[in-house]
Subunit: 303 residues, 2 copies
């Protein structure tokens, strides 16, 4: 598996019906990242047997409470549990002030290095770039500054089929082949086709997280090629004007974005407290995009 | 019933084994007050069918996270639920800054008046005085400024037995009797004994909350006459030196304070994450003071 998305909470601002505010644990290769951290996230991690200290990076979409009120508690617990490894938090301006003030009055000194990176990207930007995966950030349109994130497992380098390689092949030529290039001689003629001596590897796959946001059709073009999309669907279309005035989306709008983006699957979340039964949200989305699923806490979605 | 203590959480800093950090809902006559508000308190209120908007006052002991990280979420939810009634929070210096900063970045404007009263009492002081009940505050000894609170339902005014009153009794004399005084004539002789014309009423009862604190024997004298005591017991006596170095108490120490205070019942709480089974804590306290009980979330204690 390349990317796992573990839903820890998908309620909107008011937690009800045992639904917790937003948080997701992303496992990408051997890395564990958290997206958003509503109140109670540390208890939800514990409930589903995830270890807080395996999380190396946290990505906060925006500073409405249902997306980050659990962060200070989680960070404090990491320290109490003896964490030594650094933690990096990506968040809009303000989070550092908020955490620092709480540490000041509680006279807390963390046991580990905490780095806070301010995100204020005006367009799709790579904020983390590793050999095997990357994270991009992009602006969403909400009542306060708000950002989405896309996590991509890159296509791995092709693996060489050794007994098909020319004898005495140079290190430089091996690097060329591993980067997916053919070998050419001085006259520009191909001497070895990459596809003849390598095995294909799994294509790049990606997961994009869009919450909270007003209906923004241009997201489909911006995030074209995404495999799995989470898009907020706070309301059903019956409340479309309320969605618009509060800078949220309906299930139908989320499905339109997903359909036009060409994703494989859509996850719906950030459910308003008015819905005890969530099936109308899923039904509405599936009218537009059949591969729509409710992001229910405790569930896992894999790519 | 005069005072009800509803336990919402009694874990110490790290929430484990489905135990939540500290919070208690106090019902005193028709008032509902909250003491401390660890992360997840709003969910715990909901789980046990309490209505956040019936709470008129919140008392915070100190600014360690396990005692107040749930406050910002609870206050935000109160506003989202349309609260109009004022809320008063009593807390050590710093809380106002912490809440204000979060409201600033989330661009939150509350629907109701929020008053924050700074507690910095150097000795036992009445901070709220009503006809039928009062709340006192007193300093505890912890690593950062920390305060205990005592809630007292006052003894009600004696009720008059009308057919035993002298004819044509004056309003002033009735007030004297209701205040518990005998009536005297100009020569200083008693003409009517209060006890002869009034029915006795229930005595004053009180609940004192002491968390977090290092073992402080002088509390017993300070709070003499208290009916029900909650005293932290983070550790068993096996960890007495750790209790001392972290400014916490053992179960034995809590029981000694209760015994010497002469209370009717002791509630133990703020349990360290090292105890999955809490019975050793109760057993240890009962060796000293038999009326010792674990403050388990979901339980209610009545006076």
């Amino acid at each position: 598996l390349s990317i796992e998305v573990h839903i820890l909470g998908s309620s909107s601002a008011t937690p009800v019906f045992d639904r917790h505010p937003t948080s997701q644990l992303i496992k990408i290769l051997h890395h564990q990242y958290l997206i958003d951290c509503g109140e109670g996230t540390q208890m939800q991690l514990s409930r589903y047997n995830h270890k807080p200290n395996k999380i190396s990076r946290i990505f906060i979409s925006h500073l409405h409470g249902d997306h980050f009120f659990g962060l200070i508690g989680l960070v404090s617990t990491m320290s109490l549990q003896g964490r030594k490894n650094p933690l990096t938090i990506y968040a809009p301006l303000g989070l550092k002030d908020i955490l620092s003030l709480q540490f000041k009055y509680s006279e807390t000194i963390l046991n580990f290095p905490l780095y806070i990176e301010v995100v204020d990207e005006a367009s799709l930007t790579t904020i983390l770039d590793k050999d095997d995966h990357q994270v991009e950030c992009f602006p969403l349109s909400h009542r306060i500054p708000c950002y989405g994130y896309r996590f991509t497992r890159k296509q791995a380098a092709p693996s060489l089929i050794k007994d098909r390689l020319p004898e005495n092949i140079s290190v430089q030529d091996i690097i060329q082949l591993k980067q997916g290039h053919n070998l050419v001689n001085d006259e520009g003629e191909v001497t070895v086709y990459c596809k003849d001596v390598t095995q294909p590897t799994q294509e790049a796959v990606s997961y994009a997280y869009c919450s909270d946001t007003i209906y923004t059709p241009s997201l489909s073009e911006l995030l074209k090629g995404t495999t799995l999309l989470y898009h907020e669907s706070t309301f059903t279309k019956e409340y479309e004007s309320r969605a618009q005035s509060t800078f949220h989306s309906t299930a139908e709008q989320a499905a339109l974005v997903a359909k036009n983006m060409g994703v494989k699957k859509l996850l719906l979340g950030h459910f308003s407290a008015r819905y005890k039964d969530l099936s109308p949200i899923q039904d509405e989305a599936r009218q537009i995009f059949p591969y729509s699923f409710l992001a229910i806490e405790g569930q896992k979605f894999c790519i």
